[in-house]
Amino acid sequence: MSTSTPPQKTLSRIAANRLQKELSEWQINPPAGFKHRVTDNLQRWIIEVNGAPGTLYSCEQYQLQVDFPENYPMEAPQVIFIQQPPCHPHIYSNGHICLDILYDSWSPAMTVSSICISILSMLSSATQKARPPDNDRYVRNCRNGRSPKETRWWFHDDKV
């Protein structure tokens, strides 16, 4: 299982300020179904996800790991599931998530909170619990803790 530690530079001043803001905003108004596990590491957030009621994942709990690059928010954070990733057609067994906003479609206007909502929405719209068809091949290629941000993703499912 990869808990890939990307080669990280410390956060820039801009990134640190912005994350501080996001964190305080989160504390006042966290997205429903998520819980930030408090650490003293601003650069890596561990977030608990509770499957939304009435969906395939209700009453299930997962963990997201969000790592922020030096140039956040210009650059997207790296977001993966750790420990037991949910079984979902867009989530690989190594925790990598195929979601365009985390890669090509990232915009600095997005926040950890908006990412979380997107991920929960992706989980909630699943009609069956299954791994992506190319799971084994992908996971094999990702050994040595490769970051999902190095993957060239191909997004094609608009129905999520």
Binding site: I14, N17, R18, K21, E22, E25, N71, P73, M74, E75, A76, P89, H90, C98, L99, D100, I101, Y103, D104, S105, W106, S107, P108, A109, M110, S114, I117, S118, I119, L120, S121, M122, S125, P132, D134, R137, Y138, N141, K149, E150, T151, R152, W153, W154, F155, H156, D157, D158, V160
Partner: protein
Amino acid sequence: MAEEVEMEVEAVEAVYGPDCTVLCAFPPHLSILLKPRTADVLTIQFVEAKLIIKASVEYPNKPPELDLKDAKGLGDTRHAKLLETVEAQAKEMSGEPMLVAICEAATDLLTEMNVPDGECCFCMNPFLMEDGAQPFMKLMSCFHCFHSDCFGNWWRWLQQQHKGSSSGGVSAPMLDGSDNDERSEKGTVAEVEDFPVNCPVCRMVVNAEDVAHVLEFLIAERSVDRQREEDAKVPDSVLTSEELERRARFTAEFEAQQSRGAIIEPKKLEVILPGMIVPPRTPVEGQPPTLAPGSAAESPSGDQIPPTSPVESPGTSSSVSGISSSGTERGSLKANTHEENARAGRGVFRGRRGGGNRGASHTGSRNHHGRARGTKDYKQATNGPPRQSYSSSHQSLGIRKGGNARRGVEVDDM
């Protein structure tokens, strides 16, 4: 009755000119692009909306159905408030001709609401802060605002990424579909022209107009930086007593000339670029931002702009050229111009775009809004050509929120 109503529709058309589209003369079905009263200065216009008025044959006894479309810069709360207000107005006036009155009520409220909403999406700090706000800018196509510094940083970062990707280096995730052509390594601002950039908030392609604004902003910033560096670079050895004496003499002479009004002052306020706004020192809720003379000092470039500032390129800066007179002059001009606006009605301003050279036609004077209240033949001087409207909207912070999660196939076989 129908005739009267048709005449009323004609009146609306006459007042709003190209901003009004008559979909049907009877029963009236109109679409009117409403803007705050900013005397045609687009750079200080932060909100706008299309009011759709759809009346039945029973009009005016039965108030028309009202709706807002293509609202920009309003946000949910203010959008709802605007619609509520016009609906109340329509209800109140049922039985009498009300079309112009409804539009005027909406315009009044839009004028009150003409302040950028919320915070900069990059740094998440509000635009209007109690203690000295940072300069910010507006994208002209979608009305989304950013701190100029924040946007500049992002722009430079994108450029770096772009350079990297065109020289075959790391990928540039922000520049989807960017062509890896033979772009030069220089990364000069000149090549910004064909640089594909989307608004970070709504993803609308930043259009040529905006590119020009940002371009100028960046050039000005760089030149100021350079100027500062040069100022700081003068080595002590140059400052001999002779040199100091020469400088003192020159300064004295300069001041003497200045006191006689012989010096044509550098156009300090031209650091305020098209699309870039310096907010007031003490923002009053509900009042359009003022380009207060004193606020020039708050801009990053301060008043160190040399007279030859490259900002002066006439081609693109038409919308600020009115802001070139010096501070005090502007103060008095401002009042006059508004007086004039109110009296002259629309004819004078028709067809003029972006403020032209009418000095200080920007808003900010206290006597500005409300002046037209009740004067039905008054039309705020905002008759620019109909702007292209896009589908962007005020709700855009949730870009693809919950959106395109898509199944991925790894194509990067190694």
